[in-house]
């Protein structure tokens, strides 16, 4: 099976994000960047297929700034076979068309995307890419298996799971699963170091990457959290009654 993963580099989830002056962007200077968490689950899912069948190839591609190379290098260190970078800015439909061009050239059986990127949380690219390719799309997948000319995709549901069968080629978006993404091994890092990551400009794809229809109007940090309240007066029953009253009247959550 030939798997291609579309990967996005995002601010690391451990970083405290600051709103930039102007209120439409975040401060990126000194930022620690990481692979978007759902994309990491996509990598893990693909590598599990490869663990089971070593003839599987796993490629990663990212469209973004030059620094996204670090994320691709990490994906290689985790065990992906090859990586390529398309340098340029695009989003929404424009980005989907750019990725579709890359996908058509690479001719994979399966394209994996994280179900959403952890920076803008739009969940747009996976379905839009499937649409641009006119390929079927199965969202929120946690497991994948090949089945002669088709794939079987597991989706977690309330109290169980569904198995969907889709004809290949297909786009799947990946949901967090119980299997945590593996760490790059140190020999894996050395192996990744030796691999070339070919790079090209987005204009060389010859696709319409405009189509920007959304604009961030403003960004605001969440309000500072107030301190907690300790209920100490009275016995258990009185404290419980007090707690219920406060949850209802002050916190208004009951």
């Amino acid at each position: 099976m030939k798997i291609l993963i579309c990967l996005k580099q995002v601010p690391d989830s451990t970083v405290r994000v600051k709103v930039a002056p102007g209120g439409k962007d975040i401060v990126t200077e000194g930022m620690t960047w990481a692979i978007s968490p759902y994309d990491e689950y996509a990598i893990e899912l693909a590598l599990e297929v490869k663990d089971g069948d070593p003839t599987t190839t796993v490629s990663v591609v990212s469209v973004g700034p030059a620094r996204a190379r670090d994320a691709l290098r990490q994906a290689l260190a985790m065990g992906c076979d090859d990586a390529s970078l398309v340098v340029g800015e695009a989003s929404g439909l424009g980005l989907s068309r750019a990725l579709a061009k890359v996908v058509m050239e690479a001719k994979p059986d399966v394209v994996l995307c994280g179900k959403q990127a952890s920076d803008d949380d739009q969940g747009f690219i996976g379905p839009a890419l499937a649409e641009a390719l006119s390929w079927p799309h199965v969202p929120f997948v946690t497991k994948l298996a090949g089945a002669s000319g088709a794939v079987e995709a597991w989706r977690e549901t309330e109290g169980g799971h569904e198995v969907w069968k889709a004809s290949a080629p297909v786009v799947l978006t990946v949901q967090k699963s119980a299997k945590e993404p593996r760490y790059p091994s140190l020999p894996g890092i050395m192996k990744a170091k030796k691999k070339e990551i070919p790079e090209r400009e987005i204009v060389s794809l010859n696709v319409d990457t405009s189509g920007q229809t959304l604009e961030i109007a403003s960004l605001e940090p969440p309000p500072v959290r107030g301190g907690g309240k300790m209920l100490k007066d009275g016995d258990m029953a009185a404290i419980a009654a007090d707690l219920v009253r406060l949850l209802r009247e002050e916190a208004k959550v009951l």
């Binding site: 670090d70 290098r73 990490q74 260190a77 760490y183 790059p184 091994s185 140190l186 020999p187 894996g188 890092i189 050395m190 990744a192 170091k193």
Partner: protein, 396 residues
Amino acid sequence: MTATTAGTTEVGGFELELSEEQALVQRTAREFATTRVLPLAAAIDRDAAIPKELLRELASLGFMGVCAPQEWGGSGLDAVSLVLALEEIFRACASTGVVMTVNNSLVCDPLLRYGSDAQKERFLKPLAKGELLGCFALSEPAAGSDAAAMRTTATRDGAGWVLNGTKNFITNGASADVAIVFAQTDAEKKHKGIAAFVVDKHGAGITVGKKEHKLGIRGSDTTQLAFDGCRVGADALLGEVGQGFRIALSTLDGGRIGIAAQAVGIARACLEDSVAYAKEREAFGQKIADLQAIQWKLADMATETDAARLLTWRAAALKASGAPYEAEAAMAKLFASDVAVRASRECVQVFGGYGYLADFPAERHYRDAKITELYEGTSEIMKLVIADDLFGKDRA
């Protein structure tokens, strides 16, 4: 050779930027240490045991043979990558870090430098992969800093050797599968009669003593190893007869960079835990982070930890480049261990009475830090090494 004079060392310009793979090693080690090791650290200390599964995981990621080439089962990374990885593991759990640093620096390293291809195939490969664990048997009950005074003997036995004697304070003594053992072949020749052997620790004639009860690094086992008529083949000899003392000292030079990384990791743990606590704890109507008495402690801790790290990185960079680094490794260990002990004392002080309780990490750091001034050469021996370098004296 000291690097205080311009032009005496060649680290490649004054470059503090990590390479792409070094940064990735650091990141991987940090994520692994934070999510997998740190949550276990208190229990590892309390139970005086490291879960086997954790060591297996470390091994599977290539942490047990960081610098050994891939053809010998290692990860093929440089000495700087090793200290980056060690700092992260030590920051999370000093006991786990000790097991790792001994296997890397005191066992894989001399096997790589002095081992025959057959010894590398039989011992280095599984050690670097972490399938086997190693230990380094140099110290004796009456020979610590004065290693040349060792009484363990190696006597010719046909083509092979018979080892007799007792080794002391052996890290991984109980859990190791392979031992690098130093023994005297000819007492008259003093340090020039010493030979090194690589030995299957489960073989006949080797008895493991009781586990020592230690102040800190309690998760790593420390035991005596008694050799009583222990027969080994000619193929157990590491390097040549008479080379043993040189092998021991040069191995400890590298080991000291690992202990410096331990000290840096513990000092960083003290700093990070103190900063986090100072932001939470209130006194006199404000966070103690707002009290200058606390701020000054934390500022000193941060400065000294960084200085210790830079000395450690420099020693590692020299080792990686193939330049002499004996004095620089001693300086890094001398300074970093002093910093770790002081930082851990101040960490307990920042935590106040809570710092004295096992419910908080401060007292563990305090206990774990002290060993860095003692093993793989005491601070006093570090000064001797540095002074010998100043006066151009060769020690072996």
